[in-house]
Amino acid sequence: MDQITRSDGYTQPPPYVALRIKAIQSLLVEKGLVAQDALDEVVDIYENRIGPKDGAAVIARAWVEPEFKARLLEDGIGTLAELGMTGFEGAHVLFVENTDQVHNVVVCTLCSCYPWAVLGLPPAWYKAPQYRSRVVLEPRKVLAEFGTTVPSEKEIRVWDSTAEIRYIVIPQRPSGTEGLSVDQLAELVNRDSMIGTRFATPYEGAAA
């Protein structure tokens, strides 16, 4: 509220970007180019209905079903289509798998391309020039800043989404999770692990 009401009781205008968005939105609605309730629906869909939980469910299933993982890697978009997870920013999707030899990480150096149809909207840092410019130049340092230390003998592959192909990382399954259900495993698939900036969340029930 600091931005709205000052301590002397006067109100401050909202930030410039918020005002600009409001102005554009009002114009579109008033000129009859966009229906307000359709706009609300778009916001609701990306806030509540399409998001990283969708991707996490896919990854968890890939961990327990080898044939499903093979299909994901072979034909990502066909497999997602069967699950109803295609659409805007998700017409062409390639899955890349982390292994003992390879760690994958995804970026869009040109803008902020991201698999919306499977992971929802990108996090703010994914769109930041700092991440976009540095992760191709010094991926290990950037990953370390996320708390992700990749052993030096492991190859890092950075995928720069310059075209219409969207990339999703299949993180390595955490140890000690053999007895978990797909739903329990999905809880360990954090959003960043599907971008490649973090590992899947360690399982707390695992023997130390």
Binding site: G32, L33, V34, A35, D37, A38, D40, E41, V42, I45, R49, I50, G84, T86, G87, F88, G90, A91, H92, T109, L110, A117, V136, L137, E138, P139, R140, S152, E155, I156, R157, V158, W159, D160, S161, T162, A163, E164, I165
Partner: protein, 119 residues
């Protein structure tokens, strides 16, 4: 113009745009082939990242034929081209650096961004 209604939004969002087009010419490059990125500096939209210009990479994958954004963005038509994924080493892209020599960057590139490496 018919307005998109609220009850049509979800289906619209779930309907993918197909950016692929039928191949009318065979691809110029094959998987495993060495290519060099052209030093193109078009006035306007491009999907060619500056850091890859002039660098040598290897064709990792042929994606198929895709609409060309460099013309599409300016209303000059789709002009579809073969699209490839090209693998570069960090050393090739950035020279001496304190990273790992085995690390790589994979970039999607349209055919007109690339030339074959001639020995």
């Amino acid at each position: 113009m018919r307005l998109l209604q609220a009850n049509e939004v979800y289906d619209a969002i779930r309907t993918p745009t197909n950016f692929t087009r039928e191949e009318t010419e065979p691809p110029r490059f094959t998987v495993g082939q060495e290519v060099v990125v052209r030093n193109l500096n078009p006035r306007g939209h491009t999907r060619l990242p500056r850091y890859a210009k002039g660098r040598v990479g290897v064709i990792e994958r042929h994606h198929g034929c895709f609409v060309f954004p460099d013309t599409m963005a300016h209303g000059k038509g789709p002009h579809p081209q073969h699209l490839y994924n090209v693998r570069f080493t960090l050393t090739e892209l950035f020279g001496d650096h304190d990273g790992n020599a085995a690390d790589t960057v994979y970039i999607d590139m349209w055919e007109s961004y690339l030339d074959p490496v001639t020995s």
